[in-house]
């Protein structure tokens, strides 16, 4: 076995252990499936962990109605092909109030359409544990996360009230009102995720591969025009450029990068050479200092 494969093997083994441990310790787990590359790896590991059975929990997608169309098609096909239960939750109250990424600032929009929607969906399903694909290498507050991240009543993250995790021991005992977020990909890096996708030949959303797509350049970020709801500013005109995405979220808030990486090997190469982190393209991370930590405290994952 080569060194690289054994490195990924270790990560895979650790993640499968976490899945099985959580499934054994919690009453009603759910997998937060957000369709991107991390979710793809997360779902693949979940399926491996319980193979030949199906994962003993449903998938949950928080649909803001602003996801890329390719993502929704990929989500539905994945659930169908693998025969998985998929719960789709949208904050209809937010829709009725016309909360959009164009009209509100990103924090307000994310709070209402993502965080509040997630809390409501977890409460509605009575879930006590939610698997997420967050990785420690992504961002400063995620670098502090436990594998079992405890959330106080109301799903609030309190960084000072987390438990030590020695070796591979995971203590899942819940206090009253507590729930837990479980992060099987904690120790993976973006490069690991891509190399694993290449090695396991996993399908991912085509938006990760370069193709000519219509974009506008706004504040130095390339925003793809995914449908007719795009609100162009004065003087803006969509132009076709060869782009791909390093990370996928709501299309008005996710910046593309210009790239020629049109297949998996090229993407792996590009990721390993990249000088910027992937979250540089996430507009919701940059609207204020410690943006992610504040979102996590509100219940974001």
């Amino acid at each position: 076995m080569t060194a690289l494969v054994s490195h990924l093997k270790l990560l895979e083994t650790e993640s499968i252990h976490i899945f099985r441990e959580a499934a054994a310790q919690f009453r009603a787990p759910v997998l937060l499936y957000s369709i991107g590359k991390d979710s793809t790896v997360l779902l693949h590991l979940a399926r491996k962990a319980f193979w030949p059975g199906k994962p003993p929990f449903p998938l949950l997608h928080i649909d803001t109605t602003w996801k890329f169309r390719d993502m929704i098609a990929f989500r539905d096909k994945t659930a169908r092909d693998f025969g998985l239960d998929l719960i789709v939750h949208t904050n209809h109250d937010g829709l009725a109030r016309d909360i959009t990424p164009f009209d509100q600032n990103p924090s307000v929009y994310t709070d209402i359409m993502k965080t509040q929607a997630l809390r409501a969906a977890l409460d509605a399903g009575g879930f006590d544990a939610a698997f997420g694909g967050a990785r420690r290498d992504e961002e400063a507050s995620r670098a502090k996360e436990r594998v079992f991240s405890f959330r106080a009543a109301g799903h609030r993250w309190e960084p000072r009230r987390q438990r030590p995790e020695m070796w591979t021991l995971l203590n899942g005992r819940l206090g009253k009102g507590e729930t837990v977020r479980v992060f099987p990909l904690s120790n993976w890096t973006e490069g690991d995720v891509w190399r694993y996708i290449a090695l396991e030949k996993l399908d991912v959303v085509p938006l990760y591969f370069a193709a000519p797509r219509p974009v506008v350049s706004r504040d130095g970020q390339l925003i793809m025009v995914d449908d007719e709801r795009m609100k162009l500013l004065a003087g803006e005109k969509p132009e076709v450029r060869r782009i791909r995405f390093r990370t996928l979220g709501c299309w008005p808030l996710t910046a593309a990068v210009e790239s020629d990486a049109s297949d998996i090997d090229a993407v792996v190469q590009e990721v390993l050479r990249a000088k910027n982190s992937e979250r540089a393209g996430r507009l919701i991370d940059h609207d204020q200092a410690a943006a992610m930590e504040m979102k996590k405290r509100e219940g974001y994952f």
Partner: protein, 100 residues
């Protein structure tokens, strides 16, 4: 302070080819009293090892304004101390995981 690390080329092994030697893992331990600079030392080594993405470097340099000590321009401890409470108090409260 020398900022040479900023423009350093990051050597990249071709994808899917293992690194030549992974047996040379370095374990690093820092001991010291409060405010001796344990996090700052580790942060400085991360910074110089070119393992920090450029947008993260820019964010750290921005956050370092008015807080770096001893005439330095960068507060390297910010690479480890990412929580608001840690930054406000200038201390490490919890471990941080970073990968090279």
């Amino acid at each position: 302070m020398q900022m040479a690390a900023l423009t350093e080329e990051i050597a990249v092994a071709p994808a899917l080819v293992p690194a030549p030697d992974t047996s040379g893992m370095v374990r690093l331990l820092t001991c010291g009293s409060v405010d001796d600079g344990k996090s700052t030392l580790i942060g400085r080594m991360l910074w110089d090892s070119a393992a920090v993405a450029e947008d993260q470097r820019a964010a750290i340099m921005h956050a370092s304004q008015n807080r770096a000590l001893n005439g330095e321009k960068v507060d390297f401890s910010l690479l480890l101390d990412g929580l608001q409470a840690e930054r406000e108090q200038g201390i490490t409260i919890d471990i941080a995981w970073r990968y090279l």
